[in-house]
């Protein structure tokens, strides 16, 4: 009982105080919202696609390089993000991508992809190779539409949400690689904190919460619709 109570407290304490202040409902920078939505869509899409492909390959390959590649892909999980940041900065600076949208997208991709691959790989391992092998005996269109998509839809949703949450947590990376020229909801939030305007900070905080929550409901609804529609075709 104590454990459950502690867990509930730890989960809800950060949110209780949000109701103490009235948000100002001001949106100072529309471009920040546009950039954030753009980054969420692009990064989630690339992460889901790339991580699922990579995890699928890792699941089936007999290559002797499998362990080396696994180690390389998961390496960023063991190195603090800030340590990789400066290396990224130097490379992107060489390529002339500092202060650009492409540079920020690439940097965020480097940071998020190892987590996505790990999630995808573990998710596939839980479903299990034998069941997925049954799918391999099906023609490719049926395999993807009726088996793999329904089996992996929750996994893909988790990867998209996880990517979104990491993206929304990155202030230092976006500021450094974006050189302050690519505003997002996160960078705006930090500025509003510094400005001591609690109403504005709260508006931005709610915005920050709203993005993953909306995405969750959007993707869940889409999944449910798609799975029901596909199952209907088998009736």
């Amino acid at each position: 009982m104590i454990r459950q109570g502690l867990l509930i407290c730890l989960t809800f304490i950060p949110f209780i105080s949000l109701f103490f202040v009235v948000p100002s409902f001001e949106i100072e920078n529309n471009m920040a919202i546009v950039h954030t939505i753009g980054l969420i869509v692009i990064l989630s899409g690339i992460n889901v696609w790339l991580s699922m492909m990579c995890a699928w390959w890792l699941l089936w390959t007999d290559s002797r390089w499998k362990h080396v590649i696994e180690w390389l892909v998961f390496l960023p999980l063991f190195i603090p993000m800030l340590a990789t940041l400066f290396g990224l900065y130097l490379i992107l600076a060489e390529a002339g991508l500092i202060g650009t949208y492409v540079g920020v997208t690439l940097a965020l991709l480097v940071v998020t992809i190892p987590y996505s691959i790990r999630l995808a790989y573990n998710g596939m391992a839980v479903i299990g190779r034998p069941l997925l092998e049954q799918a391999r005996i099906l023609p490719s269109r049926r395999r993807v539409m009726y088996v793999l998509y329904p089996l992996f839809s929750r996994l893909m949703r988790t990867i998209a949400l996880f990517t979104t949450v990491i993206l929304l947590s990155q202030f230092a990376l976006i500021q450094l690689i974006g050189a302050g020229l690519i505003p997002t909801v996160t960078t705006e939030l930090y500025q509003s904190y510094a400005g001591n305007n609690r109403g504005l900070a709260l508006s931005n905080t709610w915005m920050l919460i709203l993005f993953p929550v909306l995405l969750y409901f959007l993707l869940s609804g889409w999944d449910r619709y798609m799975v029901r529609m596909l199952k209907g075709r088998l009736q």
């Binding site: 007999d62 034998p130 069941l131 092998e133 049954q134 799918a135 391999r136 005996i137 099906l138 023609p139 490719s140 049926r142 395999r143 009726y146 088996v147 329904p150 089996l151 799975v227 199952k231 075709r233 088998l234 009736q235």
Partner: protein, 292 residues
């Protein structure tokens, strides 16, 4: 249409799993591959199904190599130890999915064949293990395969259900004129189901022949006979009215011209011996070790 497995080699890491495996499956036969765990028998099946690559060698179906053909184009289906039904689909949807036209009618037909015609809309978790295995069989047959692969499909079933399903599948394969390859470590199962048997040990074929041929010649085949409290090779025992352990001949099973007797010990355990012609059902006989 015959299946030719030719000189298969397969290595996993540093372990050589298959060491030049050769055998032929005749058209419309049930061919059992018998070996202990780790002998490479399941790997052979996975290579035939297209789920595993080979290091060298070939698998020919009707004189055409299957190796370059992807798994879903081979017209081969596999039944495994666990039913491996897709959990997000109902019983019927699992079967409909593999039919050529995604047809509910066909799926219902195959479910009726496996005596589950009324369970089309049931969820997978509502079925017992035996029923799930039947659905898996319906799914395998609904794909209209030319070759059916059975990878120890009876391992997780209780003895009664196991025997029922073994007979059911054997009769069905014969009725549908399919060719089937059964992988098992259970010699009794091979004896009950197969026309031909290939014995495999450490990735090599040690013997191929009919059940009756192997009983006479293959060392170790049929060593499930319990005598003096331990398993004895069949070649070391005989049935007689002299001294030994009392057994009762319960029934005679005629399989492909060979008569097998099902004998029962006093404690209820039963064995099968490749003989029964001179003995009568219901009589008590004794089995003993052969005189040297």
């Amino acid at each position: 249409m015959s299946l030719n497995v030719q000189n298969l080699y397969k290595q996993f890491g540093t372990k050589q799993i298959l060491n030049g495996v050769d055998f032929e499956v005749k058209p419309h036969d049930i061919h059992a591959i018998v070996g202990v765990s780790g002998s490479g028998k399941s790997t052979i099946l996975r290579i035939i199904a297209g789920l595993e690559s080979t290091d060298s060698g070939d698998v020919k179906w009707n004189h055409r190599s299957l190796i370059p053909i992807p798994a879903h184009k081979r017209r081969v289906t596999m039944l495994s130890q666990t039913a491996l039904l897709f959990p997000h689909l109902t019983v019927g949807e699992n079967v409909t999915l593999v039919t050529r036209e995604r047809s509910r009618k066909q799926a219902e037909h195959w479910l009726r064949v496996v005596q589950l015609g009324d369970r089309y809309d049931a969820e997978i978790h509502e079925l017992s293990g035996g029923e799930q295995q039947r659905v898996s069989l319906a799914r395998a047959l609904a794909a209209e395969p030319e070759l059916l692969l059975l990878d120890e499909p009876f391992t997780n079933l209780d003895p009664k259900l196991k025997l029922d399903l073994q007979r059911f599948i054997r009769d069905l394969v014969k009725e549908l004129n399919l060719t089937a390859v059964l992988v098992t470590h259970d010699r009794e199962e091979a004896m009950l189901m197969a026309d031909q048997v290939t014995l495999i040990d450490e990735g090599k074929v040690t013997r191929t022949g009919t059940v009756a041929e192997l009983y006479d010649t293959a060392p170790g085949f049929g060593d499930f006979v319990m005598l003096d409290g331990e398993l004895r090779p069949l070649s070391e025992v005989e049935v007689s009215e002299a001294t030994g352990v009392s057994v009762q001949l319960m029934k005679k099973i005629y399989r492909f011209g060979q008569c097998f007797g099902e004998y029962q010990f006093k404690d209820g355990r039963s064995v099968m011996l490749p003989t029964c012609e001179t003995y009568q059902t219901g009589m008590i006989y004794r089995i003993k070790r052969k005189e040297e």
